[in-house]
Symmetry: C2
Subunit: 124 residues, 2 copies
């Protein structure tokens, strides 16, 4: 599969809220996922391996009520592609509702996503 | 300056169609600019040095009538940031009007943009 095919499949699945299917079918078992900043309560911006990435996603979903989530793109360049995410969510612990945008940069090797990096403003 | 400050300045200048000012003030003289594909009539997707990058921009402007150009973002991650471009242009040689979107990935070092990479679908 070309980078663009994988990228389109990714956008299709995530748009349909099938993130777990995207993870199981499009990602390498050894994927590395890197946040722009270290998450609250976390020790590193980096998660290694598909289990750690799935756990990070599950924890985020448990802590947020998602009112809407939109994915734009993909925009490819060689073995990488970019997408844009727009969220409207309520953080359950704080009860705060907020909108946020971020960009994702994905790297493909041997027909699997081997690296994902998320771009958004952080404090500190 | 932080990556985010440079990124915001970039978006501000490009939104005001001050691309040449952005190039002169925010970019390294040794900047490398990489397209997703080799441009028509070009020999490489890569331009090296601020003069080559300025010439590429000038050529593009001479060949397109810009009806609207929008820049979204920036979204930072460490020493890099992403923006999204949306264009509505007419290619002057062909007379064809088209809309296109792309993402830009910029890398900052020593307070200057040292690398820009453009993400969009290419044929072949």
């Amino acid at each position: 599969m070309s980078t663009l095919s994988i990228a389109k499949k990714y956008v299709e699945l995530v748009s349909a809220h099938q993130n777990h299917v995207a993870l199981e079918t499009l990602f390498s078992p050894d994927v590395v996922s890197v946040e722009a900043g270290t998450p609250p309560g976390g020790s590193s911006p980096e998660s290694r391996g598909i289990k750690a990435v799935a756990a990070k996603g599950k924890q985020w979903m448990e802590n947020h009520e998602v009112h809407s989530a939109k994915v734009d793109g993909p925009w490819p360049h060689g073995d990488r592609f970019v997408v844009r995410f727009s969220y409207d969510v309520t953080n359950k612990p704080s009860g705060k509702r907020f909108q946020m945008e971020e960009a994702g940069l994905f790297t493909v090797a041997n027909d699997k996503i081997v690296r994902e990096e998320f771009f958004y403003p952080t404090e500190g």
